[in-house]
Each structure stands twice: as structure tokens, then as C-alpha cells.
Amino acid sequence: MGDLELGGRSWGSRLIMGTGGFRSLRSMEEAIAASGAEIVTVALRRVEVAASGSVIGSLRGAERFLLPNTAGCYTAHDAVLTARMAREAFATDWVKLEVIGDDRTLFPDPTELLDAAETLVGEGFVVLPYTNDDPILARRLEELGCAAVMPLGAPIGSGMGIRNPYNLRIIVEQASVPVICDAGVGTASDAAIAMELGCDGVLLASAVARARDPVKMAAAMRAAIEAGRLAFEAGRIPRKLHAEASTPVEGTPEWSS
């Protein structure tokens, strides 16, 4: 199972973990360790709200790459400003670009997303955009110079899995940058399915953070992504309506019946 090539670097893990939604920092730390993720996302919030340095402390110790996001932004303008702040705060050009259109679906706003992506690519960012599972939108983002496309499988936090595997397959077919399935994974098989469809990686948070046992679920996700990637590379058998015996018929004893 080869490495994930993303943003000009090689990563041993194909799982990117969000850090939101955990019941405690300790739970987050242990789950991230169990997940094997090398890249973890973080947000920026006003200092009154942000826990005093602890997230950074927790995450930095373990030599993980902190990927800032622009969660909560509804316009290209806000997302661009937030990305610039993140660049300064985390000393990185990488940004997970979120520009949402609606607080009920948290689906991205296509026009604002494209605007923000264009600006940020122009400013030298490594842009990883969270996008709808729209092949056209994915193509436009790639054309603008994004380092990956990150289509959702289902709404953030919904746990609905890959609602439209057909769209994901089309996006994978046409993309020449990595495709990361971002949002929607609810359990291990969802992550495996995303990988079997040919995705290069999976980004998830709630499925682990809000599981009854986050650490165990993190281990499950790690195994599932490995399983899905291996199966993708191994080349699965075709689907058939009828059976095909795995034990040959020849040589079956003929008992008197």
C-alpha cells in the first residue's frame, strides 16, 4: 500500500483526522494516536473561546501536521481572511478550505468556494477544498490549482456514509489531484467503501469523536482505510446475480440416494 502523495509530500497514513467533537482533550489525544493519522485539522476561534493553548500543546507533542481549516465561513471574503490568519498562527501555507452555504446541511457554497480557492491559490496556499460531490465543481477546483479535492460523502456529522458512490467514482476517474473523501463517514465500512471507490484518503471527525468508544473507533477507521485501499489495489471480483461454486463439482462422491 503506497504512500499518499499530497501537497508535494508523502504521508504514510491515508486518514486525516478532525479534532472537533471529542468529549475531552485526552480522548482526542488517544484517539488520534490510535488512528495513526499524521495530519490533523484545527480551527481558529477568538481567544476567549479557544482553550488556552492546550490543543496546540496536545497535538504538537506528537509530531503531527496541523492543518488549519476555515470552518464557519460563509463567504470567500471571510474564508480568505481566516486562511491568512491561519497561515500566521500555524506557520503553514496549507489550508482546508471550507466555505459553507447553509447551517443545516453545511454543504459548501459553490460560487464562494471557487472564489476563495482562486484567491488563496494565487497567494501561494496549498488549498484543500471541502466540496460537494459534484464532478464539475471538483474539476473547476482542480483547474484553479487546488492541491486536492475533498468531496463530501454525506453531510458533516450525519454519519450517513457515501450517499452517492457514483458521483465519487466519477470524480476519482477524472481527477489528477488526490481525492479525499471529507465528511459523512459514520462507521468503518463507510471509510472502506470510500477507499474502494478509489479515493486517496479519508477525512473524518465525528464518527470517531462521538462514537461510544472513540479510541476503539479510531483503530477501526485505521484498519478500514487500510482494508479499503488494499482491496482497491487488489482488484475485486465482479458481481454476479447467480452463484459460482468455489469447490469444484468433479469428483463428488455418488452415494446411493
Binding site: 480551527a43 481567544v47 500566521e88 498562527a89
Partner: protein, 69 residues
């Protein structure tokens, strides 16, 4: 001097620097890692925190890392 810090009106001493503001707002974040400051939507680089003095009427955002996404 009146400024808006993270959306809240504040009365601050004249000629206070960004570094001083941050030290007051977020004592634990002293080294500036995971923190960013913008004045009127312009990011102030860490390297300029000492030299940059706030001015009356400015709108300041002080953001820090938190769990997310």
C-alpha cells in the same frame, strides 16, 4: 483609546502594542504559536507584534487554535 477587540468595545492605554495586547488577552499563548492577530482585516505577522501599536478606532481580531473540523 477605544478599539474593538474580538467584537467587543474596549478601552485600552494609548500606544499599546499588539504583543502587549496578546499577553493580556491570552496569557498562556505567549510565544504566539497557534495565535494570529489582524488589525482592520490585515494580518499582523508575529515579527511585527512588538513594533505595531494599536490606534484608536481599530478593529482587532485575536484568534487562537481550537479543536475543529
Amino acid at each position: 483609546m477605544r478599539v474593538l477587540v474580538n467584537g467587543e468595545a474596549r478601552e485600552l492605554p494609548d500606544a499599546i502594542s499588539v504583543a502587549e495586547l496578546v499577553a493580556g488577552e491570552a496569557p498562556g499563548l505567549g510565544d504566539g504559536r497557534g495565535v494570529a492577530v489582524a488589525i482592520d482585516e490585515q494580518v499582523v505577522p508575529h515579527s511585527a507584534w512588538d513594533a505595531t501599536k494599536l490606534q484608536d478606532g481599530q478593529r482587532i481580531e485575536v484568534l487562537a487554535a481550537m479543536q475543529g473540523g
